[in-house]
Amino acid sequence: MSDAAVTSRPPDRAANEPADERRRFETLALPHLGHVFKVAVRLTGRVEDAEDLVQETYIKAFGAFSTLREPERIRAWLLRILARLAVDRHRSPARELAVGDLAQLDRFSLYDLIWDEDPLPYSDHLHRDFLAQFPDEEVRRALLALPEAYRVPLVLLYTEDLSYRDLAEALGCPVGTVMSRLHRARKILERELWQCAKRRGFVRGHGT
């Protein structure tokens, strides 16, 4: 189906032909299922949760299908619905508080801590070699430790390479909020990786 056919459709036909409407939605939206799922797994960390989130996204998208203005941008539209569901679904006061003291967080520097402790004295690429020690599952666990309000913009940035303006539109918040969340999301990640390095004995981390 061409985009022109989609946009030029008379608005009253949808109500008369619900089966056609569903087929039209499926034809446009289902080719993006794999990508939407990939983002969902990155957001939830679990295949089962990602499947639920994807199903919820498609149901909500179908309900709002008549409001889609640019069918050629349906993937971005689906991801916007997914992102908002992901933020809303898990929003809880406890998760927000987990971030802790923001001023202290902003000062946190993994770069400085690695440099100060120098855990790999024979390395010519200290910071790179430090990171190389982490198994995949620890990096994923660190990402999941982020509250959703921080994880969702970061995952969208990393996966979709969106501009701040597009992220703000996707998340329904001001650009300034996106910027501060992405800043803090990375700081929380740095802190989580440092804690993990201590747990695994990569560093001593005295006094941190």
């Binding site: 619900p18 499926e26 149901i59 995952v155 990393y158 992405l182 740095e190």
Partner: protein, 81 residues
């Protein structure tokens, strides 16, 4: 152009990496980076960390039954309304 401190420069790193800086703030940061090796090194680490986390994110393909499950849910929805 305004001379900025290392502390001010570091505050702009993520916006710089995300291509979210323009105009004078971008010029100020680039001028600082040209003169400050320590900040270049810090910026390189921030870039490295982004690439590192990106490369370690899960990359699962959708399970085989998911499309059918979504089609079914949409079908149920259509018959309910």
């Amino acid at each position: 152009m305004t001379r900025i401190s290392c502390e001010q420069a570091v505050q702009q790193f993520f916006a710089y990496l995300d291509r979210g800086l323009s105009g004078e703030p971008l010029d100020d940061l680039e001028a600082h980076l040209e003169a400050c090796l320590a900040c270049c090194d810090r910026l390189a680490f921030s870039r490295q960390l982004d690439a590192f986390v990106k490369s370690r994110m899960p990359d699962d393909a959708a399970p085989a039954g998911l499309e059918a499950r979504v089609r079914q849910a949409l079908g149920r929805l259509a018959t309910e309304t």
